[in-house]
Subunit: 298 residues, 2 copies
């Protein structure tokens, strides 16, 4: 049993969770990942779900357990609320939601409220502010986190000042799994001519819901190869994502973080806009953010 | 048993079919609708599926059976191909696909090929060209047929010269049935302030995949009412549909045809662009188109 000054950090998402047992100075002693996302936890099952995790770490009794991600949503353990933009790491620290006093806390999300604009994030804020704290990200920069709900996050003077969520990954999955395009989108999307054509179209046109149907029409009429459809559709959605996410930004460099296959596609698409993608180590960033938050309350 | 100069017209779609037994001069003697769409017909089951239909009409032996719709697709009875734009009713007549010589024919679809633009329709062409033939539609006009795959069809000198398909209905259904928005989109979409705000946004902005997520964020943050979400989302998608479908059209009147609930929403949205919607009687138009085609081959 590990005791004393260890900390338990959990990034608890909708379908997965990751956990790190951390020693003095933020050194990772042990890490773990499993598919116990928040949707798999029954109402009232949170204590047990955390006990399981401690058991994985040899029944550790950490000084502090700090959790981030969807565990703090209204479908999670407790609604940890949202800190409004602009939000720095000290704002998150001030609003930790304690589920067990002095022992277990959930980090709040960040929200944007500028009616009619409204947006929310939960998890990415720890990563981005952690990246700044660890020097992985300059205090002024634009972060892109592709995924089910892609996030574009503006950082100014080390604080999150604005952000935008784009449903790119979810829409691609809906189309691939349930739509008239599903047989065409069964293949893997990859960078190449078809992908770049799609990006071009998405960046330069405002007709996504029409262009999607053309993917099918072109294949039916023999004007495009069936095996290119997934890459073209991915490019089209990512192009539209960039258009919405980049907005009027003046940044020439975009810090991309996330799954390597996705960040590679976004890097290729950003290249088409004349911008440079710089990869950000997401794990290091999350750990740095949780460590910094832990230090503020210990 | 009805014999002699009767005609059997079938509009055979993906999930439904409609049929009319027609006498001299196009007079409807009897009509029928059922859920025997093409997807319910087993391979090799087409003769039986048509025999069923004849049985409904007291085992009629029509002079001619003429079919339109997805029955002529590569998932249907036989691939009836596509006639390229510009396409008039005589072009469809010249390319009827005979599955039984002189007795049973399927009307081809219409395609647009103007690389990289490509589009296909199957069924709407008979309706639109039939409407022109019957004087329900002027020989120069713009038709909007909302639905799963909304169609915007340009008619010049009585021929289809261009068209555009927008996946509006399918996307709304995907979002309502399978997405993170599904609990919010369970209600009925209706015209009103929320719908019109959505139309405005869709018409004036190019960020659909981002705006969709904001629907959820606004409700989470208390900035919008949960019960308005379906109407707003519907307005947003229809606004984006109009933007793609209207393009640079100079028509002030748009002829809308289809389900009354949908045409009402499109009429409201068109009103927001300063255009007037004129309802087109879809059944009469289809019947007129099939009658005209039948006359050319009898």
């Amino acid at each position: 049993m590990v005791t004393g000054e260890t900390l338990l950090f959990v990034d608890w998402g909708t379908s997965n969770r990751r956990a790190w047992l951390v020693g003095p100075g933020g050194r990772v002693l042990q890490e773990h990942a499993d598919a116990r996302g928040i949707l798999s936890v029954e109402p009232g099952g949170w204590d047990a779900a955390v006990a399981e995790l401690r058991h994985v770490f040899e029944d550790v009794e950490p000084r502090l357990t700090l959790m981030t991600g969807m565990v703090g949503s209204n479908r999670g353990w407790a609604d940890a609320g949202y800190v409004p933009c602009p939000a720095g790491i000290e704002d998150l620290a001030a609003k930790l939601h304690w589920v067990e006093p002095d022992a277990v806390a959930i980090v709040p999300g960040v929200c944007l409220r500028d009616p009619p604009r409204a947006d929310v994030m939960r998890g990415e804020e720890v990563q981005v502010l952690g990246a700044v704290a660890a020097g992985l990200l300059p205090p002024n920069g634009l972060v892109c986190h592709p995924g089910t709900h892609a996030k574009w996050i503006e950082v100014e003077d080390g604080r999150i000042t604005g952000f935008r969520t784009v449903m790119t990954g979810e829409l691609f999955a809906l189309l691939a799994n349930h739509s008239i395009l599903s047989d065409l989108l069964a293949g893997e999307a990859a960078d190449g001519d078809a992908f770049r054509l799609g990006v071009d179209h998405g960046l330069g046109n405002c007709d996504l819901t029409a262009e999607l149907f053309q993917i099918r029409a072109r294949v039916l009429l023999g004007d495009a190869a069936r095996e290119d459809a997934a890459s073209y559709a991915s490019g089209l959605l990512i192009g539209a994502d960039l258009r919405a996410g980049l907005g009027r930004t003046r940044h020439d460099v975009v810090h991309v973080v996330g799954r390597p296959d996705l960040t590679a596609l976004y890097a290729a698409a950003l290249d088409q806009t004349g911008r440079r993608a710089e990869r950000l180590d997401g794990d290091r960033a999350v750990l740095a953010g949780l460590q910094r938050l832990a230090e503020t309350v210990l």
